[in-house]
Symmetry: C2
């Protein structure tokens, strides 16, 4: 049987795994459902940071050093906005702004977020299917001593420094999963949860009504890749967001987060000591090198995940 | 009595005279009512070409060679939009786009066009008062063999080549002049019609209900500066637009356009032969060098207009 791989992913961490999968899975058999919970309107433009990272990665235009945005980017528009006295804490490059203009114009014209993401990907010659989980607005909100912030305000403007008291997904109750996202989850022979921040990247996808039920209906292998290596998070506020949501800030907490949703839990050999405890939770635990810095590491993990290794 | 000078102006031609006036009139005594009939939405952004030329000119950031846009401009966003397959016939530069983002975000938030224009000018350290004639949308439409075009489509995309069958100002019937524009016209000791295209630049201002009546109530000197030198138009489709609207494509036609609105009509010495005929129409005709290429020529004409010469 031909594999149909569907990945639920956030931005930087998700893109690393997706790039590996795109090396080993025929592109028409690969679907990525990208987090849109940290979408934000800046300077009147609709910015979709995680979908953009995924799109730029697959289009091979991404700045691999920064992990986001176009390569060889300039910031002339933003510099001029700053000169006009505007707040420019979100570093939107000139080439990147073309994406946001493209998206915003179509949103204003009533085009579905799903169609816009697909059209953008096609225009950038990406053949992997890139989908938001919903066409509705579901916004990740982070409660801090400064008040409720949207995710970009917390992550970029405040540099993740404030304590996290609570995380919520505004709009989730009224949202619904798209038929495309539901179909991609149900039809997957492998459903992979990327090593992204469970709360901030996977959480907003799971918060969309219809997504969890589709995951339950999926008959393929459902695999979570741990976002921690050696107990630590490589990037971002994963641990403190997990703690705020009542999960232990360790692999046990990640396993609890994915309880009932996955069949396999992939962890790094550095975390072998966790294996037994996780298996007691009923998870099949697999060991694989989860460090995804080089293309070889990404491709190797993807081959493992798809059971392509001999 | 202190002079209060109000100028009705289009883009390039208007900006030349306005720059001269700003050299000789205290900035707090100078008001420019700029044409907004060729405003256009491109890539989802509200572009106001004439107001921008006037603002950039007074802010001394304009590309004087092109006559529009910022100096030392780049076009990275537009190049990227083109690579995405978008139509990019309107040359919007990166720095320029900051203006359009600034404007569009505030329009969407419900801010008046008058306030936005004022705020943009202030941010660019312009102290001359820059006003649209109306906060409503009044769009210049040009009927051609290709159908009805908005002015930028006719002017830029089609390079003024199509025959002009008719000109209309869509939305004018439902529009109203702002209190600020009406007050600036009524209070003017000198009300100057810049040497702009009468149909495309001055016409949309006059089409706004309330503007003509304010001009009638103005007790100052009302002066039209001819947009033709030696019978020819220096730039743009003035003559064929005049003909399409039933005006002779010459100084007689311009005088007919301004009939009842002005007391003085300023023409270039190269057009002295017109003087007698124009005076028979009841106009006071004044002769002055109307070539406004150098700063000296601009300032000299401004001094003449304000009767500052000894």
């Amino acid at each position: 049987m031909r594999e149909r791989v569907t990945v639920l992913a956030g931005g930087v961490g998700g893109a690393k795994l997706v790039l590996g999968l795109a090396d080993v899975v025929p592109h028409e058999c690969l679907t990525v459902i990208g987090n849109t919970g940290d979408d934000v309107v800046r300077h009147g433009l609709w910015v979709s940071p995680d979908l953009d990272i995924l799109t730029y990665t697959l289009a091979d235009v991404i700045d691999t050093e920064k992990g986001w945005g176009y390569r060889e980017e300039t910031f002339r528009v933003l510099e001029t906005l700053r000169a006009l006295g505007e707040e420019t804490w979100m570093n939107l490059g000139d080439r990147d702004l073309a994406t946001h203009l493209f998206r915003t114009e179509r949103r204003a014209a009533g085009m579905r977020a799903t169609e816009i993401a697909g059209e953008l990907a096609r225009r950038l010659h990406v053949r992997v299917s890139l989908l938001p989980p919903t066409d509705d607005d579901v916004q990740t909100r982070v409660k801090t001593p400064l008040g409720w912030l949207n995710f970009q305000e917390f992550y970029i403007r405040e540099r993740c420094r404030p304590d996290v008291e609570e995380v919520a997904f505004a709009g989730a109750a009224k949202a619904s999963a798209t038929p495309e996202a539901v179909a991609a989850i149900e039809a997957a022979t492998r459903l992979v949860f990327a090593p992204s921040n469970p709360i901030a990247s996977i959480g907003p996808i799971l918060a969309v009504p219809g997504i969890r039920a589709a995951i339950q209906r999926c008959r393929g292998r459902r695999i979570a890749v741990a976002p921690l290596i050696g107990g630590a998070c490589l990037k971002g506020p994963t641990l403190k967001m997990m703690a705020a949501q009542g999960f232990a800030p360790d692999l046990g907490g990640v396993a609890a987060f994915y309880r009932g949703l996955v069949d396999e839990f992939w962890i790094d050999p550095r975390d072998t000591s966790w294996k037994e405890a996780l298996e007691r939770e009923g998870l099949q635990v697999r060991l694989a090198d989860l460090l995804l810095n080089t293309r070889e590491q990404k491709t190797a993990l993807a081959r493992h995940l798809c059971a392509l290794e001999k």
